[in-house]
């Protein structure tokens, strides 16, 4: 190989490399990582797609987790290895993923969404204030049980932060009222067990006045078990999230109401905020570093309107 040709090659490679870096600095690669593959994230995805379409100099990747911290670590490592500029993640196990989030924060701009990891070096959190959501559910319970009564609560796992916070919100709301919690049952996201837990609660506590489901599939599980027991109307139901069956139950009056989050906004606001911060504008990050997206209470009177909106968002 002649000296000239070598020099030309070097020049060429420098050009290519600088070309690449220049391209990277103009178009930002952003990623949105979920904790699992629930329907919820289909809506969040639409929000990220909207942001992607609106922002010219941004590409957005959407990655579904499988409910494990290991899968998230693999996803984050892969993204960092391919030079992602910013990512928003819903950590499965925030307390023990701090190290991973901090590692990622050294190489890219890191947000948490849906579930926060306040001890990590994440720049900002975008998501629900689950304690406030719990309080809304507590208010629904008090409204359904003006005379007071006993309630039982159902959830997949109690060591999940959102479950803890929602439960705390409910407890805050019913404190001082005549409503008392008799039990909290978990099902490890096994939906057969979720329904069996409710059926068995109706047997062991025949006087229970209301049942609350903290995770999206708990609403339908409660509804089906109460229906099988012939106790619709007699046992009041309060749910979270917007499962189709839950909304049908709200519409029919079998469920008092459901507290819903706005996953679309998680997706949209995470991506737009990541993009503006990467451009150097940090004004969108509040002093507490938490952007709360309010939860809504869906009852019989506004369920149709909500459903129409949801159908549009899901693109069905």
């Amino acid at each position: 190989m002649s000296l000239k040709r070598t020099a030309a090659l070097i020049c060429l490679s420098v050009l290519v490399v600088s070309g690449c870096t220049r391209e990277r600095s103009s178009t930002k690669r952003l990623a949105f990582i979920t904790n699992n593959a629930a329907d919820f994230w289909t809506i969040a995805r639409k929000g990220t797609e909207k942001a992607d379409a609106e922002l010219a100099d941004v590409t957005v990747e959407f990655r579904l987790g499988d409910g494990t911290a290991a899968a998230q670590k693999r996803i984050v490592d892969d993204l960092l290895a391919t030079g992602v500029d910013g990512l928003a993640i819903s950590p499965v196990d925030p307390a023990n993923q701090t190290a991973m989030l901090n590692d990622a924060a050294r190489q890219a701009l890191v947000f948490t969404h849906d579930s926060d990891a306040p001890d990590s070096r994440r720049e900002c959190y975008v998501g629900t204030d689950n304690v406030a959501a719990g309080r809304q559910a507590g208010d629904l319970i008090k409204e359904a049980l003006p005379q007071g009564g006993t309630i039982a609560i159902f959830v997949g796992k109690l060591d999940a932060r959102n479950a803890q916070e929602r439960l705390q919100g409910i407890k805050e709301s019913i404190a001082g009222s005549k409503v008392t919690i008799v039990d909290v049952r978990t099902d490890d996201t096994d939906q057969v067990r979720a329904k069996a837990n409710v059926s068995e609660m109706l047997v062991s506590h025949p006087d229970v006045a209301a049942l609350v489901g903290l995770w999206s599939y708990n609403g339908p599980a409660i509804l089906n078990a109460v229906r099988d027991a012939g106790k619709i109307g007699q046992v009041r139901i309060v749910a979270f999230d917007e499962d189709d069956e839950t909304l049908t139950g709200v519409k029919a009056g079998a469920i008092v109401g459901t507290v819903v989050q706005q996953p679309y906004e998680f997706g949209y606001q995470s991506i737009t905020l990541l993009a503006t911060v990467l451009k150097g504008n940090r004004s969108g990050i509040p002093p507490g570093r938490q952007v709360f997206i309010p939860t809504q209470v869906i009852r019989q009177n506004n369920v149709d309107e909500f459903r129409t909106k949801l159908t549009q968002l899901r693109g069905r």
Binding site: N36, A37, A38, D39, W41, T42, L64, D66, G67, L158, D183, V184, R185, T186, D187, T189, D190, Q191, V192, R193, A194, K195, A196, N197, S199, E200, M201, L202, V203, S204, P206, Y217, P220, A221, N224, D228, A229, D243, D244, E245, T248
Partner: protein, 317 residues
């Protein structure tokens, strides 16, 4: 018979204790709830027991529930296939998966653990992909209410899944304990080579066992799908194969093959469901659910082993 007796005694003692602590245990509503679950879990546990008797195993049952459940929901609510056809297709697909496992195991000589571990991953992934990671529900079952009633209803207060289990286990009892095939199955499980030398076709015997499991998985998939009324592809049926394996082992099936009985598997299934029921009825924290199950299974297995050793020594000494 002794193994079944040990499980039976354990079950009776447990039921007596729970009924004494909370009389609602024997209320009609609770018996119905528990019978429904025993029915659903029993149907596939019987099939899994047959496979275990051949010396095999199937780890893919839970994932198959997700795949078959998602397809059933889509056939009924999106493709609007007549429900009897959808039911037959679901069971046929279950049988096909069973035949696929059986052929890989017998023709290629692959280990059942590996084949069905791959099935566990493959079917879960397919279920999620086909459903586009969305929960597939039956809603108000418009157009197939008859099927919903059949899967979730009762016959004179007895839940239909339990009735189905009684029918399935009667047939399988005849097949396993009174038919030539049953004898071949035990012989193959005990010693495949010896079975072959005595004129049995072990390959055929094994493939048939996996197909039987496939058919029963298909039936159970329909029951589970209607029990929850919706199928979330990422979590539906997770780990259910372990309930089946535990029930079979509790009921006296040996994981080495060649041993087991239908009565034993039924007792094992019942014990597992009663254990979960008692956790809720006695207000034991949900967090202890698995610990209670694991502890009692261990007591059962240890008790059985001690009993066997003693009875083995007794005639000699």
């Amino acid at each position: 018979m002794k193994k079944e007796l040990a499980t039976f005694v354990l079950l009776v003692v447990l039921c007596a204790i729970v009924a004494a602590l909370n009389p609602r245990f024997i209320s009609l509503a609770n018996l119905q709830n528990t019978a429904r679950l025993i029915g659903a879990f029993g149907i596939f546990s019987v099939g899994l027991g047959m496979v275990i008797i051949t010396g095999g195993i199937d780890l893919s049952v839970g994932s198959a529930f997700a795949l078959l459940g998602v397809l059933l929901a889509m056939m009924l609510t999106e493709w609007h296939i007549a429900w009897p056809v959808a039911v037959l297709l679901t069971i046929a697909l279950g049988a096909l998966l069973g035949a696929f496992h059986g052929l890989l195991i017998t023709r290629l000589g692959l280990q059942p653990f590996i084949v069905t571990l791959c099935g566990l991953l493959l079917y879960r992934g397919l279920a999620r992909f086909i459903a586009d990671d969305e929960t597939k529900g039956f809603g108000d079952a418009a157009g197939f209410q008859a099927l919903q009633r059949l899967a979730t209803g009762s016959v004179v207060h007895v839940p239909t899944p339990f009735v189905a289990l009684v029918a399935v286990s009667t047939v399988m009892w005849v097949v396993l304990h009174r038919s030539v095939y049953g004898r071949h199955l035990f012989a193959t499980g005990r010693n495949e080579i010896a079975a072959r030398y005595s004129g049995i076709n072990p390959r055929r015997v094994i493939v048939i066992a996996y197909v039987i499991l496939g058919v029963l998985t298909g039936i159970a998939a329909i029951v589970f799908a209607f029990y929850t009324n919706s199928v979330s592809p990422s979590s539906h049926g997770n780990f259910f194969e372990l309930y089946g394996i535990a029930a079979a082992v509790l009921g006296g099936c040996s994981l080495r093959g060649g041993e087991g009985s239908i009565i034993g598997i039924l007792l094992g299934t019942t014990l597992l469901q009663v254990l979960q029921n008692l956790v809720n009825l006695l207000g034991i924290p949900s967090s202890l659910n698995f610990a209670v199950m694991g502890g009692v299974i261990l007591v059962g297995v240890v008790g059985d082993q001690v009993w066997q050793r003693r009875s083995a020594r007794a005639p000699a000494g």
